[in-house]
Amino acid sequence: MERRDIAMNQLINKRINEVIKGNQEAFEEIVTLFQHRLYHVCYRMLGNRQEAEDIAQEAFVRAYINIHTFDQKRKFSTWLFRIATNLCIDRIRKRKPDYYLDAEVPGTEGLTMYSQVASDVALPEEEVARMETEERIQYEIGRLSDKYRSVIILRYIEELPLQEISDILELPLGTVKTRVHRGRAALKKQMGNL
């Protein structure tokens, strides 16, 4: 870890200890420090500002309630991101019909039934071509199944190392790599020629 990260960790752990001792106000600094990164991840996962705000807030509330279970030898952002990505995945799964869950379509790298159905109702090419970059990015991410969506967001938007993604998602490094590979392939397939 860099010296700046160590100083940051110390500050965060100090605040966490204050929160554990019952000082709720000390949590405000933690929220302030991480609000934008956490909201951004939720927004990319959910593609909707209203839901992103709700889930990011919920993630902080869960972190507050469970703060005593956080291992202070580890990186706080990893723990916080884990709470948030789990909440996002729960939310995504709740809003789509049960029978699409995890049903990967044979021969289509990284595409689930859901993304297949989604791409069947995909917007016409001309409309996609007219999209602004930001809108298009969100559209493409949104077509990935949640498995691939989370790793692609953490890897290419949050720019996190693979090992950290593995810690956040509590998946073996090899699984994360496979998902990144399939996620990339799925993106390429979806997007055709840019």
Partner: protein, 211 residues
């Protein structure tokens, strides 16, 4: 493309992950140079990633922090009161004064005529006379109510005599404070001090160790 070794696709991903072995990288570059379809796949993958990487950072909406703080479960009230007292010592003292002004204290002063003494080993109690014997050391505070305290030895602590008398022999030693209280107002003042001391004692225990 199907004729190309499957290893090439693995090499592409390893390359994109930034953890390709040197010899694999050479193999990949050599193959891409002579295989347009693999070069195309590589370019498409790279383009897809670069497109996603353009995503602008998005900030949480204004008021986000306050909204989170408002959603937190209420803290235990005891902790809240203690912090409030610590933050506003003057107001706390004033509030305490009004609380203590209430009749209970004054009646407490008037009604409590019973002899009492703090239990400490080596103290000699005869009737309403408490003696710290010569050559003995009492470790801790002594409070005597409605009685007489004779100090001939040593007290390693505070001595308080409430509505009584105190005698100090030439050999007497008291390391802490020594007080006699026999007026209602002294009593009130003593009570305020003790209560405030208690609060801050509890408060200190609350602070994280490393501070």
């Amino acid at each position: 493309m199907n004729t190309c070794p499957e290893q090439i696709v693995h090499c592409m991903h390893a390359y994109l992950d930034g953890d390709i072995r040197h010899d694999d990288e050479q193999l990949l570059m050599k193959h891409l140079a002579e295989c347009p379809s693999c070069q195309k796949l590589m370019d498409d993958l790279t383009d897809a990633i670069e497109f996603i990487e353009q995503a602008e950072p998005i900030e949480a909406p204004v008021g986000f922090v306050n909204d989170v703080m408002a959603r937190l479960p209420k803290e235990k009230s005891q902790v809240g009161i203690q912090r409030w007292l610590r933050k506003h010592p003057l107001l706390a003292a004033a509030a305490m004064f009004f609380v203590l002004m209430s009749a209970s204290i004054f009646s407490g002063y008037g009604n409590d005529q019973q002899f009492s003494v703090t239990k400490q080993p080596n103290l000699i109690v005869e009737g309403e006379t408490v003696t710290v014997p010569e050559g003995e050391v009492i470790k801790g505070d002594i409070i005597v109510k409605n009685g007489e305290l004779r100090i001939e030895g040593e007290v390693d602590g505070n001595v308080t005599v409430i509505r009584g008398s105190k005698y100090m022999a030439s050999t007497a030693v008291v390391t802490g404070t020594s007080e006699e209280i026999d007026q209602a107002f002294d009593w009130l003042w003593y009570k305020i001090k003790e209560t405030v001391k208690d609060i801050f004692k509890t408060g200190d225990g609350e602070k994280p160790v490393e501070e």
